[in-house]
């Protein structure tokens, strides 16, 4: 049974493999990767036509909502957004969005597509270098299989235009993330988001101590987790303060964090552990961009606001491991209510197809306890807030003039179970159209196999 197999693999992934930490709004202005970065992005936007979306309800991702809005984009960028009075220049293709909704492209800050692809076979399971508790030297981009069919489902059903692929959470320091444009490509480089900063994936709690405790080595406890982390940071600081001439892949990543060029995405469930990590970050001189899977953020939402750390969360996953036993569905609303940053994430090849639904569910759970968060702000949970925590908010995540034309036209309210992406543009190029059977990517893996090109 697929369900059972999937279950087993999901559990393996959750319990041993999946974790990341987050970025913060403060780090949004991270400089672009240096030109000498190896494995550079070769992504170039695909051709598009100047397009005017008219008549739809527009959520701009930054908290704005325009009824009967107009969104103009051309040459890969947002040209303007406004109301019905906004003039449409000559040469624009006009798309009637009456009764429909427009949002920025959906962004998932926590995905393992490509490094834990489908089919979920051991031969392609490349998400955790679980041979040492600290592997900051590994880069997720060297594991990503661009032919993972999951990318296409995330596009078609989830409106995903950008996603951060993280190493798993077996290790305290799992390695570097890679941020991708959700555009099919022969190569990983062809998907790399140009100029996106790297993140270092870190993990608290149960996973590292279990994985290495079971191997009879440190860490086997939470105190061991911290000891290994701190010593590793101290060694990295010594390296960073030196001449850095001897190449050391692990320390180069950590030095990048200490320099503020590489963000930190920290898988961490429990409130007390997040508070300790905040102190460790202070002690060592780095900033946590986001805590991921932060199911207990609601207990310390005030501390997270003060520390300017985002919480990347599910709507209501519950009880699957000890550190998720106090998860509550009102988590996101309580975080937002305290003025801290909420990001809705998936960590799942299915969940990534429904981040909008997860956000709507979390919003409604808040409303039932008297916390009313406007729809336009909730849309930011899966667009601009994710971009901020990934350090790419100056390029995408909201519909602002000059930003990348990453746009979803939904066939109904995106905060409803009954709505799906009707069209998805990435950098102004139409990459998915629910009303055109051929405007749907089919990965090499699926070609010529049962179900090829089906609606999925």
């Amino acid at each position: 049974m697929g369900a059972r197999v999937t279950l087993a693999l999901c559990m393996a992934s959750l319990l041993a493999a999946c974790s990341t930490t987050g970025a913060t709004e403060k780090v949004a202005s991270v400089p672009e990767a240096p030109a000498d970065t190896p494995y550079p992005s070769t992504y170039h936007r695909y051709p598009g036509t100047p397009t005017a979306l008219v008549g739809a309800t527009v959520f701009d991702g930054a908290g704005g909502e325009i009824d009967n809005g107009t969104v103009l984009f051309a040459d890969g960028a947002v040209v303007a957004i406004g109301g019905p009075e906004l003039e449409i220049p000559a040469g624009y293709t006009r798309i009637d969005g009456t009764g429909k909704f427009v949002t920025p492209g959906v962004i998932d800050i926590h995905s393992h597509l490509g490094d834990y692809p489908t089919p979920e076979v051991q031969a392609n399971s490349d998400g955790n270098e679980a041979t040492s508790p600290t592997t900051p030297e590994v880069w997720a981009e060297h594991s990503v299989w661009p032919q993972d069919p999951g990318f296409t489902r995330a596009l078609a059903n989830g409106g995903i235009t950008t996603l951060e692929i993280l190493p798993g959470s077996a290790n305290l320091m799992g390695g570097r993330s890679v941020t991708l444009k959700n555009v099919p490509s022969r190569t990983l480089q062809g998907m790399k988001f140009p100029g996106a900063p790297y993140s270092l994936k870190m993990a608290c709690g149960e996973n590292p101590k279990r994985v290495y405790g079971n191997k009879g080595r440190m860490p086997s406890t939470r105190m061991g987790n911290f000891a290994v982390n701190r010593q590793t940071w101290l060694d990295a600081k010594a390296y960073a303060e030196g001449d850095r001439k001897k190449r050391d892949l692990a320390k180069e990543t950590l030095a990048g964090v200490l320099d503020g060029k590489i963000l930190v995405q920290n898988h961490c469930y429990r409130a007390d552990e997040m508070a300790l990590v905040l102190d460790m970050a202070k002690e060592m001189g780095y900033h946590v961009a986001a805590f991921h899977h932060a199911v207990e953020s609601y207990k310390i939402a005030d501390l997270l606001r003060e520390a300017d750390v985002c919480s990347a969360v599910w709507s209501d996953w519950y009880g699957f491991k000890m550190e998720a036993y106090d998860a509550i569905p009102e988590n996101a609303a309580l975080i937002a209510n305290a003025g801290a940053c909420v990001v809705i994430h998936s960590d799942d090849a299915n969940g990534i197809q429904r981040l909008n639904q997860a956000a709507a569910r979390a919003q409604a759970d808040g409303r039932r306890m008297g916390i009313d968060i406007p729809d336009a702000q909730v849309v930011g949970w899966f667009t601009l807030n994710a971009a901020k925590a990934m350090g790419i908010a100056d390029q995408t995540g909201s519909l602002e003039t000059g930003k990348m034309a990453d746009v979803v036209l939904w066939n109904g309210d995106p905060l409803s179970v009954y709505s799906r992406p009707e069209k998805v543009w990435i950098d102004g190029a139409l990459m998915f159209d629910a009303l055109d059977r051929k405007r749907r990517p089919v990965s090499d893996f699926e070609l010529g196999q049962p179900g090829e090109g089906d609606v999925k």
């Binding site: 369900a3 059972r4 489908t118 569910r361 409604a364 409803s416 799906r420 629910a434 089906d454």
Partner: protein, 444 residues
């Protein structure tokens, strides 16, 4: 210590179980659960814990408690097929997890009923999500037979198990292959041998009158070369005799065909297909065989080589071909029973997509209520507002299939259920995160 505290809370909550009340609900948007459209301004009469009447129009006058639903949606309780409710507290804490009996000589004889914990947080949380009845199965461990599943209600009382040994569950796809000897060939041989041994046993001993054949008859009259324990063989007697449904988990179109063909060898089998991710490719054959299906709604990834053709349209296409198909398979971490309405709602959403096949709203609701109830042997008794059915009602604050909606009141067998649990108490404690004059631990 935490466990002790939680137990105390549960005991306090259960100290005064509410009694079933007769009552009439009026002014409700009624969903019957039988696939029909919602009824504006309808009513429901509950008497002696059962549905006495439901339909359109004003409620009949009666000298019982009247509840004005004020236009709220009122539906039958959700019936969620194939869950692991009550079998684990924390999935990753192995000592709290009974889902996977592994190091045991038994397979088909395994019976989940005595292990089910009605006080499990997951039962309470699922109840608060509108789930009033469910079937529960273990996962297969050392045998392709996962054993015998149970039918439960989610009432806040000690009597969860409504029917023990309600079905037998076997896996014959990749998972069965792995267990039986790393090959489907081994799984099919193990399966046939098991049924043969059960037939042999039944031929030598009449176990047909036994409520639990495992416990009847004797250990004599078995040849020396059997593979199954007698306990396992006896457990399969009701399966070969067609008295206990056999749930077969298969996904690949070819595996589904092989499963349907079993009826030629074992004509008595009452088959139910579970999973059937590629069912849409053989939907006509499934319909012709009159075999019902419990499928997952939103599987659309080629997660394995046996589900390359998976699509969210699977359920809709099978339904359109005349297959009786309900949602089933809500296990563990990523498919919570309380998410059943979201899954059903997504099937409605498919109707707007070119090339996709969804369900109507009424059929989508039926796929998480009356249809799985029927498949689970509760035809007309659960998942439906019909005279004689269990008095399971849910009042919702909006369209029950919408992600933004939630139950406001839940009744099981006419008894109003508490909806508070570990999560709601944490929510209330941390309404503001900062402690007051005393630590948070004093707020309870």
């Amino acid at each position: 210590m935490i466990a002790r505290l939680l137990l105390g809370t549960a005991l306090a909550a259960c100290a005064f179980p509410a009694a079933a009340q007769d009552f009439v609900v009026s002014n409700a948007r009624i969903v019957l659960g039988d696939g029909s459209d919602p009824i504006e301004n309808g009513f429901v009469v509950v008497k002696d814990g059962k549905i006495a009447q439901a339909g359109a129009g004003p409620a009949p006058a009666a000298a019982v408690t009247a509840i004005d639903a004020k236009g709220q949606w009122v539906t039958p309780g959700l019936f969620v097929a194939l869950t692991d409710l009550g079998l684990w507290d924390v999935e990753g804490v192995s000592e709290s997890n009974d889902t996977s009996p592994r190091d045991t000589p038994f397979g088909a004889a395994l019976d989940v009923a005595p292990a089910i914990n009605p006080a499990s947080e997951h039962i309470g949380i699922s109840r608060a999500g509108g789930v009033t009845r469910a079937t529960v199965t273990a996962y297969p461990g050392g045998s392709i037979f996962a054993g015998q599943g149970a039918l439960i209600d989610l009432g806040d009382d000690p009597d969860a198990v409504q029917q023990a040994r309600a079905f037998q569950f076997v896996v014959l796809g990749e998972q069965g292959a792995r267990i039986a000897g790393r090959s489907r060939i081994a799984a099919h041989a193990a399966f046939r041998n098991a049924l043969r041994e059960a037939s042999d046993l039944a031929a030598h001993q009449d176990l047909s009158a036994a409520e639990d054949p495992r416990m009847a008859g004797s250990n004599t009259d078995r040849p020396g070369d059997v593979l199954l324990t007698r306990f396992d063989a006896a457990a399969l007697v009701p399966v070969v005799q067609g008295k206990q449904p056999l749930y077969v988990a298969v996904d690949r179109a070819a595996d589904i065909r092989s499963t349907l063909a079993l009826k030629e060898e074992f004509p008595q089998l009452k088959l139910v297909l579970v999973g059937a991710a590629e069912g849409w490719m053989v939907a006509d054959e499934i319909a012709a065989a009159d075999v019902p299906v419990l499928a997952q709604a939103l599987v659309d990834l080629p997660a394995s080589f046996e589900m390359l053709a998976s699509t969210q349209s699977n359920v809709g296409r099978m339904h359109a071909a005349g297959v009786k198909v309900g949602l089933g398979g809500f296990f563990g971490t990523t498919d919570y029973p309380r998410w059943a309405p979201q899954y059903a709602g997504n099937l409605v959403a498919l109707n707007k997509l070119l090339g996709a096949t969804g369900l109507s709203w009424g059929d989508a609701f039926a796929a998480i209520s009356s249809v799985p109830a029927q498949i689970s042997g509760m035809d007309g008794e659960a998942g439906v507002l019909k005279p004689g059915a269990h008095g399971d009602l849910v009042f919702w604050d909006g369209d029950p299939l919408e992600v933004t909606s939630a139950p406001m009141r839940v009744f099981i067998d006419g008894v109003e259920q508490p909806l508070d649990n570990h999560q709601t108490k944490l929510r209330d404690r941390y309404r503001t995160p900062e402690p007051g004059d005393l630590p948070k631990a004093y707020e309870w």
